[in-house]
């Protein structure tokens, strides 16, 4: 038990840290406490924003949503999207960072090109890919036909549609992993790599035994951030497939959007959000535990 006087002494001693934390803390409190409390509260109500019907129903939302077959499909799709997307984005981003290490002719313009996809407005990205993916007149199928292969139902084949959407996300967001991991790579001193090679380590050995461990916290950070962002994928689904064909590209955030802004069933939308929250919070706690162990705090 911490006695009050000891605690005060403790705070005063560490007042620097409290002081610099405070501004962010204040803004977060102002902006988020009320909305989050609302969301949590609403999840226990049958609440329609339009008709003002508000009825306390306890856990009924939770049970009805988790047994809703569309929600289940959307949850599975979201997990697939998140897992595959994150894996490929971080893997490719890391590979790109390695590829771009060091100086070479055309490096700077090439780097600008590689990060271009991230800069383009998501709506434009989706529109372009929608055109490229078009079955009859799209560029991709046109090239496939020219190469003598058959056309692919990128967006209209229920088994393929989700991966086509993931591909767009990979195209747009791999640069993110690339930039973060490159920043990490650049802050490693060259001597480290030189030492490794002097010790006789080959390229891949160096990468796995030296680079990856040093960059571990950045890699995990990127994995975490991309997992979260891919979990929330909405605008791509909205623009590319509308959740179809069938329910093959339904995602949780699309489900929530529909409940919240088309039907205005805020109760159900909040409940579905709570499910998302729990999953991500668990992942986040695991991550934080891991990273707080490292280093000395």
């Amino acid at each position: 038990m911490i006695k009050r006087r000891t605690m005060l002494k403790y705070i005063v001693k560490n007042r620097f840290y409290y002081a610099i934390l405070f501004p962010a803390f204040a803004v977060v409190v102002f902006l988020t406490v009320y909305p989050v409390v609302q969301v949590v509260a609403n999840s226990f109500y049958k609440y329609n924003f339009l008709s003002d019907e508000r009825l306390f129903i306890g856990f009924k939302n939770f049970s009805s949503i988790i047994s809703d077959d569309i929600f289940q499909t959307s949850f599975v799709n979201t997990i697939i999207f998140s897992f595959v997307g994150t894996l490929l984005e971080v893997g490719l981003g890391f590979a790109l960072a390695l590829l771009f290490y060091g100086k070479f002719f055309g490096r700077r313009p090439a780097m600008i090109i590689v990060i271009f996809p991230m800069m383009v407005s998501t709506m434009v990205v989706c529109s372009v890919w929608r055109t490229l993916y078009q079955f009859d007149i799209g560029l991709l199928n046109y090239l496939l036909k020219a190469a003598g292969l058959g056309p692919v139902g990128w967006l209209n084949n229920p088994h393929l549609a989700l991966f086509s959407v993931i591909l767009v996300d990979i195209w747009q967001w791999t640069p993110f992993a690339f930039i973060v991991l490159q920043a990490g790579l650049l802050s490693i001193q060259r001597e480290v790599f030189e030492a490794a090679s002097i010790d006789g380590a080959g390229y891949f050995r160096t990468v796995f035994s030296v680079t990856v461990p040093i960059l571990w916290s950045q890699i995990v950070l990127v994995v975490l951030l991309r997992t979260i962002d891919t979990f929330r994928v909405f605008s791509k689904v909205y623009a590319l497939t509308g959740g179809g064909p069938g329910n093959s590209t339904e995602t949780v955030s699309f489900f929530i959007y529909r409940e919240g802004f088309v039907y205005f069933n805020l109760g159900r939308a909040s409940t579905a959000s709570m499910y998302t929250l729990v999953v991500i919070a668990l992942i986040a706690v695991v991550y934080i535990r891991q990273i707080m162990k490292e280093g000395d705090v």
Binding site: P23, F49, L50, S51, D52, I70, Q134, F135, D136, I137, G153, L155, N156, P158, A161, T241, G242, G243, G244, P245, G246, N247, R258, F261, V262, Y263, F264
Partner: protein, 423 residues
């Protein structure tokens, strides 16, 4: 150094206040400023034109016209009206959403305003369109909104292809199927038929004319009847028709249908809206100038039932400029402005006199058919649960379309879910 640091941090933290004050503020202009929550695309251009013209004649009234996509406009308008802040003086309302707004009591009564100005509603308006703005939905209901765009769903076909292969204009849906079969055999370069297959509102909008023409109904006496034998017949027909549509039609939305029609790749389109066809005869945008005829839908066991999808204009009760808004409302739905908007932007009129204007008849030869369609049009079910019903129906329709569910199962499940929704 420490003090300077703290000082600069404090200054930066007070930055939000600075942002709020220094942020570019809209200038106050003129005594009356009306804010209109409108739609984008041709509707936005038309509204902008109308407001500009109005300001020329009434310099003390200026406008802020918001041009928003369908969903965004709906979200914004709902949230604003619920909060009662009165941000908007006029709002565009898609007719299926009107019951929600009317039931919630968010709109001002236009009957009241007409009476206070000593006027009555002009009978020139097509009554099927006006009825949508009434609550309850009857000719005697209170008027809460006027039809600004008399959108009615139509059918389009390529006259040049039909002439070439000796086909007559289809009178029934069976004719459509027969024509599609013939076209497929005779012309491999053109896909016989196209429609919207994206689940939800798109597929439902495309399917309803067929559904109704087979005598089926979504709701009857407050019960869901989507699994009736007539509904099954309609859906089975629809699946047969799919064989003559492009392979990717399951993911087609209006942009794809429009581009295919304008690009000359479709012989028939089962669902066109007036705003889609405005540029059909514009050589800068269309490759099928003069080759497309727009007409009312075929019939089947029941008469042709065009789907009405009017855009209404209403005045939120919380608006602080109701009288001025009302004057503009009368102006923009007046005969002159409707003719101008139809001429320049392809906005479908809602007045008989506009449909009969000689200049418009020359530009849009299908106007007589469109007027007839509007007068005989059928509205979608008047319930404030329509978005949920439509989305559910649309999901199962599409599952049947892509073959993941049999037609029978799809309709049965859809019916159960719709019945739950209206409980």
């Amino acid at each position: 150094m420490k003090n300077r640091f703290i000082l600069s941090v404090l200054v930066l933290l007070l930055a939000p206040v600075f942002f709020v004050l220094a942020s570019p503020q809209p200038e106050a202009t003129g005594p009356v400023k009306l804010t209109i929550a409108g739609r984008d695309g041709v509707y936005g251009n038309a509204m902008q034109y109308a407001t500009d013209e109005y300001t020329k004649g009434h310099p003390d009234v200026t406008f802020d016209v918001l041009k928003l996509p369908y969903n965004s406009q709906y979200e914004k308008v709902v949230i604003d009206m619920k909060s009662g802040t009165g941000s908007y003086d006029l709002i565009m309302i898609d007719d299926p959403n009107a019951p929600q707004f009317q039931k919630a009591g968010w709109l001002a009564s236009l009957d009241g305003m007409l009476k206070s100005k000593g006027e009555t509603l002009d009978p020139d308006f097509i009554s099927a369109a006006v009825k949508l703005g009434r609550y309850p939905y009857a000719d005697s209901g209170t008027l809460y909104a006027l039809p600004h765009v008399g959108n009615v769903e139509m059918f389009a076909y390529r006259t040049d292809l039909f002439d070439k292969y000796g086909l007559a204009k289809p009178a029934t849906w069976d004719d459509v199927l027969a024509d599609a079969q013939k076209l497929k055999q005779m012309d491999p370069n053109v896909t016989p038929v196209g429609f919207r297959g994206v689940k939800g509102n798109p597929i439902v909008s495309g399917f309803l004319p067929i559904f109704w023409a087979f005598g089926a109904n979504v709701l009857e006496n407050n019960k869901a009847t989507v699994d009736s034998p007539q509904a099954l017949a309609a859906l089975q027909y629809f699946l047969k028709l799919k064989a003559y549509a492009p392979q990717a039609v399951d993911t087609w939305n209006s942009a794809q249908v429009r581009d295919a029609l304008y690009g000359g790749r479709l012989a028939m389109v089962t669902e066109v809206w007036p705003s889609w066809v405005g540029d059909l005869n514009n050589p800068d945008k269309s490759q099928v100038v003069g080759k497309v005829m727009v007409t009312a839908h075929p019939r089947e066991t029941a008469p042709s039932s065009p789907v009405i999808g009017a855009w209404l204009l209403g005045i939120p009760k919380a608006s602080k400029n109701q009288s001025a808004a009302f004057d503009f409302l009368m102006y923009v739905t007046g005969k002159d402005m409707q003719i101008q908007l139809a001429d320049q932007f392809g906005i479908a009129p809602s007045r008989k006199s506009a449909f009969q204007d000689p200049g418009l008849l020359k530009k849009y030869p299908w106007f007589p058919g469109q007027e007839a369609a509007l007068e005989n049009a059928r509205a979608r079910a008047r319930t404030n649960k329509w978005p949920e019903i439509e989305t559910t129906f649309g999901t199962y329709l599409q599952l049947a379309l892509i073959g993941q569910m049999s037609a029978q199962d799809a309709l049965k499940t859809a019916n159960e879910k719709i019945q739950e929704i209206i409980q």
